[in-house]
Symmetry: C2
Subunit: 479 residues, 2 copies
């Protein structure tokens, strides 16, 4: 019996069902009426805001400026970059009527903004002095989704998209890497997700990119989640949109552009990196509530309720995001289950006897220490440290999990076994046909060529041809 | 000759032309490719972010939670509230095709979110314990615009929309007023706009509202700008979307709902409240750069450039948003004009002789004191105070301007003269036909019945019938 009234399907039984139950029961999300759309509920949105504010600060600190470009893009813009339109055409939502009339040219709802930003860059850039042009946009995008999954693949999602223009390849590639490093930092230090930064193989690149960098995370079912990408576009979009500058020598040159994005998909990544059979487990640095205080009052006890509110005030003053669950109609047990489901890192229980002793009972969401009494007066100092420990614990746990499920393999049977439960580090020939063959047999695809991987070459794990990339490739089944 | 190479049309000559030139030349905005859309450039977007963060803080401090609802709404949702669909139908952008197919039901791009949020509220609310439900969303909306003007009327704009549900009328009306008070505060204390809070007359209400509150601002051409609105919906949307709760007594009741919004239109309001023939004048609390330092180096002077950067660091440490204009290829005079055009409150000029004397030349964007030398060491302490003074000066100046152009009139000729250059405070019968008549003759409409207005009644200024509302009404030509 893996499931009761309040509980969820066990991860081990059906991970997809577990995920779907948890995101709804934890009140992160609800279904929108149009196919594949989602409503991000306050608890999920707060998590996004916390991630957003940290990422935004880093984007600004590295010299980028935020701007806002129109949602509706003339259909013809997309066609200007051939690979780009081929990649996105099947996913477009198209506005054909507006203001009570049929439009002369249909407008697409932006699936991403390279084209419209490219058009504006061409207008704004004339001299080398205008470069680099470092822009970022926080926005919603729409990509029609036939097999939606909340946060992971939705018809509409929220993200930031960086778009930059540079004098040459070297500068643009530095930017592509800088953005990836920001994502790596945010994933590791805030979401406690031990991602692997790497380069996409040609078949997995963004539509229109020369190179795509990615951070890949392992979920608790062993699958890979692409958690952020950064693209070097070469002069592809500069050619399509005529983004040129006059160099110091007076010669006209094409810009080299980049784009990079991180989205609300990260919320799904956090759920699947840390969650367990009791529900969500949130990393303290992104948890809307880091601590929940449950006053145990059995039908009303003013002193206890007052003490809970006082403690909350002191914790908030110490910078701890604290919530008091004062709902009179619910039992403490019900509340414990609910806040476990919603992944709050630390719970404090406060009853009349605790109050007399000047203590509260502290329970961590994970880590198996059980309850322990802790002095109320010590909490404002102790909690920030305990939260840091919990954050570090989650990262260490996820790293150990990933390492345990990542196998270096040189044999096809071992490869198949590895990608059934996690990742395989293997040599590969780089041929598209061989990639397709691997995918059809195992459902695994090349996730990335890790940036940090050691140089190595030999024979392709599947076909035996000489290996490409000069390194091992991570293969895994992906979201 | 009202205009030179760098300058703009004089306000007195053609205010609309002045506005249009200023918003582009100050690099606040650019034109988007689809009809009536705009690109908000980094300088304009930063202004919006500063306003946004202050408004967001106030919205959260008053107990509201942010969430995010889908952009695409089934067409049928809008029809559920008859007045609502009538009001918005002519402005809708409609998605008819997506994912390569024609949709069974068309989707509208949200013009506002009462309908989709109403649908979700009905799902989330069951008991009186779920109320009030206090939600807010930061989003883009699309309303097809035939006569677009940057920031003021654009096909797409950014805003926040608050949506709340309550147990009864009294609680919902309190909320409507609370939101208006937030807007009043933000307009006055941040944008230095002395707005008048009031109630809309029936013909000017939001489509589907029982009552609409508004803050009305006077622009420097005497016209009115509606700068934020807050609507009491009664049970109109609760009936249409079946938003009900079980009361303490066990009886099922309809909720009373509200909605309220403030948008990027505020940027246009700031431009037209404070700007002059030299360009923008930005209130310090929202200025992306509060201070610009122009080093005067005549072909390079390392000591001066270094001193400018050092001073900027000290000013930033004192909380002053400071920019150093270090562009080598431009003359100081060119830079002065540019930063005046872009409305930076205070300019500091720093040359070799100033540096020797330990001073900088300080120039305020407005206030007519001319240049004065000020000790560099005193600046980190002095500037925050000077900026506060400048902020207060702008509010006082705009208030005096508004008061001067607002006339209490009881005679039709006086009324026509008043609305030709500003506002008329007049008694009105409240009849729609009489409003229409006034509009056709003078282009003026009732802007609001001021909340603070004294009780008064008598004869309608136009038709002589007994006056309505128990107060004078503000009439003016509106944006």
């Amino acid at each position: 019996m893996a499931r009761d009234e309040r509980g969820v399907t066990a991860q081990s039984e059906d991970f997809a069902a577990w995920y779907n139950e948890v995101v709804f029961k934890a009140a992160l999300v609800d279904r929108g009426p149009a196919k594949g759309t989602m409503v991000i509920r306050p608890y999920g949105y707060r998590l996004w805001e916390l991630l957003q504010s940290e990422l935004d600060r880093r984007i600004k600190d590295t010299g980028h400026e935020n701007a806002y470009f129109p949602l509706l893009i003339p259909e013809s813009y997309l066609s200007r970059e051939a690979e780009h339109v081929e990649g996105f055409a099947p996913e477009l939502a198209v506005v054909t009527h507006a203001g009570g009339k049929e439009l002369e040219e249909a407008l697409v709802v932006r699936p991403t903004s390279e084209t419209i930003i490219g058009e504006m860059m061409a207008k704004w850039i004339s001299s080398h002095r205008d470069l680099p042009l470092l822009l970022n946009q926080w926005s919603n995008v729409v990509r029609w989704e036939l097999r939606p999954r909340m946060f992971l693949r939705t018809t509409e999602f929220l993200w930031q998209e960086g778009h930059t223009a540079h004098v040459d390849e070297a500068d643009a590639r530095r930017e592509t890497r800088l953005a990836l490093d920001l994502y790596h930092e945010v994933a590791r230090d805030l979401a406690a997700m031990p991602v692997v930064p790497g380069e996409k193989t040609p078949g997995e690149r963004f539509a229109g990119a020369v190179d795509t960098l990615t951070i890949e995370a392992m979920m608790r079912d062993g699958r890979a989640l692409q958690a952020g990408t950064s693209h070097y576009m070469g002069t592809n979009f500069a050619t399509a949109f005529d983004i040129r500058y006059t160099g110091e020598s007076g010669r006209e040159e094409l810009c080299h552009t980049t784009s990079w994005g991180m989205s609300t998909r990260m919320i799904g990544g956090i759920v699947m990196t840390h969650g367990d059979d009791k529900g969500l487990v949130l990393p303290p640095r992104l948890a809307p509530y880091q601590v929940v205080i449950v006053p145990i009052t059995r039908g009303g006890n003013e002193a206890v309720e007052q003490a809970a509110q006082d403690l909350a005030r002191r914790l908030r003053a110490a910078g701890v995001r604290t919530h008091v669950d004062a709902r009179a109609q619910l039992t403490p047990g019900f509340k414990y289950n609910e806040w476990e489901m919603r992944g709050v890192p630390i719970r404090l229980e406060l009853g009349p006897r605790d109050l007399e002793a000047g203590t509260a009972m502290l329970v961590k969401r994970l880590g198996g220490e059980g309850k322990r009494a802790i002095s109320i007066d010590a909490l404002p100092r102790a909690l920030p440290e305990l939260l840091d420990e919990f954050q570090a614990y989650l990262l260490a746990r996820a790293t150990a999990f990933r390492d345990e499920r990542t196998r270096t393999v040189d044999d096809w049977d071992e490869f198949a076994a590895a990608v059934a439960s996690g990742w395989a580090l293997a040599l590969h020939c780089g041929a598209a046909a061989c990639e397709d063959d691997i995918k059809s047999v195992t459902a695994a695809t090349p996730r990335c060529v890790p940036l940090e991987g050691d140089s190595e070459s030999g024979r392709c794990v599947r076909c035996g041809a000489p290996s490409a990339y000069g390194k091992r490739v991570i293969f895994g089944r992906a979201y």
